[in-house]
Amino acid sequence: MRLLIGGLVTGIAFGFLLQKGRVLRYDKQLAALRLQDMTIVKFMFSSVLVGMVGIHLLNDMGLIAMSLKATQVWANIVGGLIFGVGWGLVGYCPGTSLGAVGEGRIDALSGIAGMLFGAAVFAEVYPRLQNNLLVWADYGKITLPQLLGVNHWLVVAVMVVLGVLMFRWFEKKGL
């Protein structure tokens, strides 16, 4: 029960911030994919950079556990590209589609119906993929610092610097 309430409260906070940051809208998502307005990228990378520092700090202190998804190169790449194609068409992602409904964008309902259908389609196809494409080039649960064989704070620092440079470039270009 505590977990369910925790999930709801966390979702409300996140949904509130997504709406305030204006990242829920089709126009904003497509504007980023058309390289016209990088609002969603600014939001996402600000979130990622803050989270990256926080997660690694708490993990070093032994307060939390990491929860990595396995790196299965083919599944990640092919699945990721298919996702991108669908994303360009619908203009919402799974999490933001619900938030878009929350601010009145009812075309997201059709997208959500499609997403549910897509999940059912994948469940039908999964038995044919589970022993081939999904496990090709399976490297297990690895991180970039492990792959490079360097301290994680070095990678975090590089990411933060790259992120800030990207933000400065966006502002300079008025994106």
Binding site: A70, L98, S110
Partner: protein, 180 residues
């Protein structure tokens, strides 16, 4: 940054950074990382179970996420519902709630009477997107936010591919050159 006539909007860097803190707090207090697409599998399984219960019970993919007779409600499902409520709260308290069936950018490109086309495209896009998300084992929440925060190789790979696919389709739909 363009913020003309947009009541209640916050700087995206600020809103993003705060949501990063929310993500960290979630991991600290409940041990849960953000994610969304698994809830669509659970919901789809629950809905399909209403009409084809044997088929869902026999499916190994649904069996990974749905226990027979078990509830679909878990941390992530509540999180996803919470996103809707949070967005509704933010929109209605700032006067930016607006019922809209056809997005402005879509309307400029495809015309004011392109509603059916929009509904069908959104459905098809949603289907393709979720198929890809489940193949990649995550969406921009699970891979893009949670994965990249942890510097997971899977998250970084998937995020690059999400954008690559999206950039391609946006160019096909709207043409090159941005401003039209």
């Amino acid at each position: 940054m363009k913020q003309i006539n947009d009541p209640g909007s916050w700087n995206p860097y600020l809103a993003g950074a705060l949501s990063g803190l929310v993500a960290v707090a979630s991991v600290l207090f409940t041990g849960r990382y953000f994610g969304a697409s698994t809830s669509f599998v659970r919901s789809a399984g629950m809905l399909e179970r209403l009409i084809l219960p044997e088929r869902v019970a026999a499916n190994i993919y649904f069996s990974k996420y749905l226990q027979p007779g078990g509830s679909v409600f878990d941390w992530q499902w509540m999180f996803v519902v919470g996103i809707l409520i949070g967005a509704l709260l933010a929109a209605t308290t700032s006067g930016s709630f607006r019922v809209q069936a056809i997005p402005d950018m879509w309307q400029q490109r495809f015309g004011r009477r392109s509603g059916l086309k929009r509904v069908l495209t959104a459905f098809a896009g949603g289907t393709i997107l979720m198929f890809g998300a489940r193949m990649a084992d995550g969406c921009p929440s699970g891979h893009g936010l949670s994965g990249v925060m942890q510097l997971a190789v899977s998250g970084l790979l998937a995020l690059v591919c999400f954008f690559a696919g999206g950039l391609l389709v946006a160019r096909l739909l709207y043409g090159r050159g941005g401003q039209q």
